[in-house]
Symmetry: C2
Subunit: 214 residues, 2 copies
């Protein structure tokens, strides 16, 4: 398809598409002549992902470029390719390792992973920004006087593992390796608000069922 | 306890506690004489909640006052008391009802709740800001070309219902009605980051298990 068709099918203006091309967020089309290039379904898919990252995820262009660089790195195995892209997404603040609440939260997080049997997550703990986010969240709870420990969090972890299995089953339903990796990144940015809304709505449903309305 | 003890036990400076008292976020202590007031465990608990709302939730003081007003309204039944406090928390943007993606997402959200058997959530749909957040999230997915439908979302809803049952079991483990309602609000603000981190960590664990590291 031509640029105008790519714009019509994606709902993104030609000016914005040209900007994404210039910034290297979208690979160039196949040049037909000096003024015309041809784009394919892969461009359409990538354009959706770029909008998800930038418009919804509010991710800076330089960060998006880095994330997409990992997505496109076919030299990597799938775990590392998805992992590198996810790890390049903006993360929570870094934990302050001098803070006693952080030290205690890190030990508690380790107990939690042990209890859950998440061996790979334990091995990756020192590398993973996601693990650091968990430590920060648990340190905040502790500092504010809500010391939610491994015992309380483990059943939540087990339920989130169920959710993650579903996420990966859904990824595997996609045809190509490129689509799988792109979908993993899109889901990390786009799916979170839907999941949060479902959680709160489930709380309303269950509160009403248990205690009635009045 | 005196103000100095309340400060020591909460880790909040006396100046900040006085500010919260002036703003009506913390109820006054029992006045012992012209210059001294006595505070109790209820003050300590409330101070934790105020910090959670303002420091972690980044909620404006006026909004926090409104949330706490609902928390303290003993004339309400538990469902409405928790619901009113939750609904007063800052919500996502309002859906634009003229937008065809919003119209389609609203119909799909209704199919989703029907499939989940969430009858109370369906009845409250026109009132609940949480329901509106779900519609906004689903409309965004649709607009960006990821039309995740009721069929795909229903199993996630069922898992979030499991999470919500756990949330309420945990609330019920607290002694007083006031503690139950306060904990519901604190959890809405504080627990989300921990749950999100657990979800992402579970994805790492499951990705590594399925595809290995290299």
């Amino acid at each position: 398809m031509r640029l105008a068709d790519l714009s019509a099918r994606s709902g993104v203006s030609t000016a914005t598409i040209k900007y994404y091309l210039r910034e290297g967020l979208l690979p160039p089309g196949r040049q037909l002549n000096a003024t015309t290039a041809e784009y394919d379904e892969g461009h359409l898919r990538r354009l959706r992902l770029v909008r998800a990252l930038i418009q919804v995820g509010k991710i800076p262009v330089a960060t998006a470029r880095e994330v997409l660089g990992h997505v496109d790195d076919v030299s990597l195995g799938r775990t590392i390719r998805i992992g590198a892209a996810m790890w390049a997404l903006p993360q929570e603040a870094e934990p302050d390792e001098e803070d006693p609440d952080v030290v205690a939260a890190r030990a508690e997080a380790d107990r939690l992973l042990e209890r859950l049997g998440w061996e790979s997550a334990r091995e990756l703990a020192s590398l993973s920004p996601v693990h650091r986010s968990l430590v920060v969240a648990m340190a905040t709870l502790r500092r504010l006087g809500y010391p939610w420990d491994a015992e309380l969090l483990a059943p939540y972890g087990a339920l989130m593992h169920e959710v993650a299995r579903r996420d990966l089953d859904f990824l595997e339903s996609h045809a190509s390796e490129a689509e799988k990796v792109e979908m993993a990144v899109a889901a990390a940015v786009l799916f979170e608000p839907a999941l949060r809304a479902l959680h709160r709505l489930a709380q309303e449903e269950e509160t009403t069922r248990r205690y009635g309305i009045e």
